[in-house]
């Protein structure tokens, strides 16, 4: 998948023919790489695995977390999934994530197209204004945004949860960069054939944007699923909480029910894991390719 740029030692011709060559130096190098990669992978996954195992154990409060004894049970999960709180939080998270993702894609695609292909006065300035907020700490707008949302009566509502999350600049940037690459001649040809701007957008530009749309979809969904501070402020009643907020606020004293806490941590990971497995190439390649090029 990737090339040998990183360890320049191996970029010599030896590496090219190296698949079966018994060059001892190369073998040693490969073994070292495997060992290091296994170590790093272990550091990354062991904490999750331990908690996963704990969640599958029949533990009562304050008992010791022994990973080897005690048999296995799904009790912690069935209890959570049949309760009223957790399914409600998952539902809220899904509503917010789906709405934010769908709206972000549409809105940012529209804006990205305007910035990439339409000429109008102030285009550069407006774009710069959008992009500069990538570096704006949320802390500066947090308080007044909350005040405004409260004034419009949107505290503890889905609207209040969703709308402010649609103002981020990343998607506009991503779409503009991609649409700029679409040849002008293509749009011009359509225009000469009599296609209106909305038609050009819908029938030519939008279908070509499948890849950045997929990237933005995955990225927005994941970051919305994991977003914390804003829903913490807005979801004030238990029934409006998103999953991350619900989990964080109800487990501050987790010793009371370790099984439930660990199961919640794992459950919140599951949707992201599914998304990750299904759209891995957008995680590992797409996110960086379009969005983060200097």
């Amino acid at each position: 998948m990737s090339s040998t740029k990183v360890l320049p030692v191996s970029t010599t011709s030896v590496a090219q023919a190296g698949d079966r060559s018994p060059n001892p130096r190369l073998v040693r190098q490969r073994v070292t790489t495997h060992v290091l990669a296994i170590l790093v992978s272990a550091v990354c996954t062991a904490p999750v695995l331990i908690v996963l195992i704990a969640s599958l154990k029949p533990l009562s409060s304050f008992s010791s977390l022994s990973l080897t004894s005690g048999g296995w049970t799904l009790h912690n999960y069935t209890k959570l999934l049949t309760g009223d709180q957790l399914p409600r939080w998952v539902f809220n998270s899904l509503v917010v994530c789906v709405a934010v993702t769908a709206l972000t894609v549409v809105i940012d695609l529209l804006a990205g197209f305007a910035f990439a292909k339409l000429k109008f006065r102030g285009r550069g300035v407006l774009f710069l204004l959008f992009i500069s907020t990538l570096m704006l700490p949320f802390s500066i707008t947090l308080v007044p945004t909350y005040l405004l949302v409260a004034r419009y009566g949107m505290v503890d509502t889905y609207l209040g949860l969703i709308l402010p999350l649609l103002s981020g600049p990343l998607g506009v940037y991503l779409m503009r960069q991609f649409i700029k690459g679409i040849p002008d001649a293509l749009l011009e040809a359509a225009r000469i054939d009599g296609a209106s701007l909305p038609r050009i957008f819908l029938q030519i530009v939008a279908p070509l944007c499948a890849q950045p749309v997929a990237v933005l979809t995955v990225f927005t969904f994941v970051s919305t699923w994991n977003t914390f501070l804003w829903p913490l402020l807005i979801a004030q009643s238990d029934s409006m909480k998103t999953l991350t907020v619900g989990i964080a606020t109800s487990n501050l004293q987790f010793e009371q029910d370790l099984g439930s806490t660990t199961a919640q941590a794992i459950l919140s990971l599951v949707p992201m894991l599914i998304l990750f497995v299904a759209f891995q190439r957008f995680f590992l390649r797409g996110i960086t390719a379009g969005a983060f090029k200097g």
Binding site: C44, V51, L118, L273
Partner: protein, 299 residues
């Protein structure tokens, strides 16, 4: 629609269409970024709470802020967090990126495993680590403090807690940032290394003279991202320490939150928000200067 011959020469000049395409984003941006941004600077000079109205108090908030020892503590804690988090958020992901971009069999599996912490929400991350270091049941606590006898205070002592929480932040971001670095590494043209190896520059020298300079654009972006994230660290503080023990792990963002929702003063919180902005502008300016003086070798 098609009979617009006079306009064909300047066919893409269409301010009305453009404004329609931009309307939704611009409205949202105005409502939730621009207006709040300006409003903050009004709030700085006001006093009041969410329930009662606001009154103009001049520079009172700023004066009070300068005299507030808890505020200085939150600044110090945030600074400690930045100092631990920013360098490690560069060094660790970059090292991992160097490792996982080597083309050996099974590397895709490693890449996926390494990304797992970045899939967790901070809420879940915090819970997982709290379980691991719990003095009664935590396996990591048992390992370090009973088996190895290290007596790490973990979350029970302020500064150590901040450092530990920052390390967990690094753990949770390393998947994401190493993928960004990996993409940067893959963009470096192969022939550069070949040319360098002919000149005798391999291994660390090639890394220093080719990889690092060419990675600068990616480095800048990651630097800005992790710094902004560190300045406003909140989630992990909420889940792991709640600012405690006492007030010893208060960060700026946590203090802002406490002021707004613990019934404190809104204007006071706004003043802190502005201060965070100034600090982050200074840091961004510093980064820009440092990276500019060396001259750009890329693009």
């Amino acid at each position: 629609m098609a009979i617009r011959h006079p306009r064909r020469r300047r066919s893409n000049r269409s301010p009305i269409a453009a404004s329609l395409f931009l309307l939704p984003k611009t409205l949202l941006f105005t409502a939730f970024v621009l207006v709040p941004f300006v409003y903050t600077f009004v709030l700085v000079f006001q006093r009041g709470t969410l329930l009662r109205g606001f009154t103009f108090v001049g520079a009172d908030n700023i004066v009070a802020l300068a005299r507030d020892s808890l505020f200085w503590l939150t600044l110090r804690n945030t600074l400690v967090y930045i100092l631990v988090s920013v360098p490690l958020n560069i060094i660790v992901p970059l090292s991992i990126a160097l490792l996982i971009s080597t083309p050996i069999r099974g590397m895709r599996v490693y890449r996926s495993l390494i990304y797992i912490p970045s899939l967790l929400s901070i809420a879940a991350t915090g819970l997982i680590w709290k379980v691991l270091i719990d003095p009664d049941i935590g396996p990591l606590y048992k390992l370090t403090n009973q088996v190895l006898g290290l007596h790490l205070p973990y979350l029970s002592r302020g500064t150590f807690a901040i450092v530990f929480v920052a390390l967990i932040g690094v753990w949770s971001g390393l998947g994401f940032y190493s993928i960004i670095f990996m993409a940067g590494l893959n963009d470096i043209p192969e022939d550069l290394y070949e040319a360098a190896s002919i000149d005798g520059a391999t291994g660390f020298r090639a890394f220093r003279t080719i990889t690092l300079p060419l990675l600068k654009p990616v480095m800048q972006i990651v630097l800005v991202l992790v710094t902004i994230a560190a300045i406003q660290v909140f989630d992990i503080i909420y889940v792991m320490t709640q600012g405690g023990p006492g007030t010893s792990t208060y960060t700026v963002m946590w203090y802002i939150y406490q002021n707004v929702f613990g019934g404190g003063s809104i204007g006071y919180a706004a003043a802190m928000g502005v201060l965070v902005l100034i600090v982050s502008l200074v840091i961004s300016g510093f980064y820009l200067r440092v990276t500019r003086t060396e001259g750009s070798t890329y693009e």
